[in-house]
Symmetry: C2
Amino acid sequence: MPVIKRVAIVGVGLMGASFGLALKRAWSTVRIIGVDVDESVLEQARARGAIDANGTYAQAGAADVILLALPVRQMSTAFAALAPHLSDLSTLVDVGSTKQSVIAAARAALGDRIAQFVPCHPIAGRERHGPMFAEVGLFEAKSVVITPLPENSPERLARVEGLWTAVGSRLVPMLPDQHDAVFAAVSHLPHMLAFSLVEELASRPNAKSLFEHAASGFRDFTRIASSSPEMWRDIALDNRAAILEELDAYLAKTANLRQLLADADAEALLSFMQRAQGAREHWLSGQLDQFNDLEK
Amino acid sequence: MPVIKRVAIVGVGLMGASFGLALKRAWSTVRIIGVDVDESVLEQARARGAIDANGTYAQAGAADVILLALPVRQMSTAFAALAPHLSDLSTLVDVGSTKQSVIAAARAALGDRIAQFVPCHPIAGRERHGPMFAEVGLFEAKSVVITPLPENSPERLARVEGLWTAVGSRLVPMLPDQHDAVFAAVSHLPHMLAFSLVEELASRPNAKSLFEHAASGFRDFTRIASSSPEMWRDIALDNRAAILEELDAYLAKTANLRQLLADADAEALLSFMQRAQGAREHWLSGQLDQFNDLEK
């Protein structure tokens, strides 16, 4: 495979533009084109120095590496638009928060060229969206989950690893279904819960009084409710079965907590809160061996 | 009333010790004694310079101002221990997160001296507890909700206002039941929800895998689940009726969101998330006039 000289970024929002900035810092001679349906977003990404020029899908198809940084439900369209233009030497990488659905979309659109696609999910991001919030260090010291396809050659995987290493990330391999189940629990569920709390309070007749008194606990709890609604609608739909399971488990657990409170069971309430607080402290201090892991 | 020269802080954890640090910075000649059941906590508070000396309830009762900074269910015991020693000139202030229950405890223990108690709730704090986490600036630019009693004289309220102003806070008057309802929604509910999420994931057979992949969204969403379990058990029990109402409303709203997802209703999901995201942006930018407030 050729040295990576030409990169295309499809979708130059927060993730795509941050990747452009980081890659240009690492490899100063790389040339990056941006593809986006929104001209103003392309203009901002160019102004920020995240891309060198606007491009077309046809030009993107000839790049050494094509990064897809789109809401997951827009991946199909992008794969289909790229497919006829894809050079034999191009490698496709995505940054989607769901993996099974993106892989299915890639298989449907790319056919025999599926080996050229390496599914990835960088565990990086912010609740802000758009290239104006791009950060050159967004991927530094972050994990990138990679869910390799059976068709991916070792050379292609090595190339993708080099790409993420260049922007400061380390790869964590997972199976696609394992990825989707784990992130349904630790990411997609909390997003749903945060959207739900803000929507609930905003819909009250005394919403103004409530928000006047909301402070730092509320701010951090709901930070992820400032995330892009379009992106999260897509994630919710694409990982629907796993998220429904998570919502059911969470609703049952919270109904259980509600019952302890209704019973004024001081001892059980304390124990519940102590288990939660203790678990979070173990997590923060990296003491993961304190947790069960029967699946491993 | 005398100039404030002698202050007693009952409970020298994060809040009490931070108050001591802040007050000594503002009024360098004030003498502060600390009362706490835990000798090691008193020692830490003294080492931090938050208090000048350990004291007894009898000594505390003679102070110009006595600040109660205890978990709300320990307030009764403290009021009862102070009552026989309370000087006519002393003013009692608390920092409890619930107001109706603390006022009831004060009335029961103080009897005719109830006019000496001014109920307060500083909207400040951290998820950490203990005097080692005390911060001299904890109360700076923060609101302190004050729920005056009919018995409080204007002079006493002015004294309490001076105290909070000295540590950099501004007073926000509310009725006790209004306070408890508002904070059930914007503070107590999110704490319950955060405890519930961490407990749910920690109890799974694959907890270790889950926590290995939890990132910044999870960290912020669950920050408040690192709060003191004893403190939050007390708040939950003392504001039980309001929190049960909040939990019911939240569970119903989240069941509604779950149904939109089960129906794969893309348009309704997007609209739900847009309302939440938009409301949070209005809140962050201080545009509270965007919200209804039929109660005002």
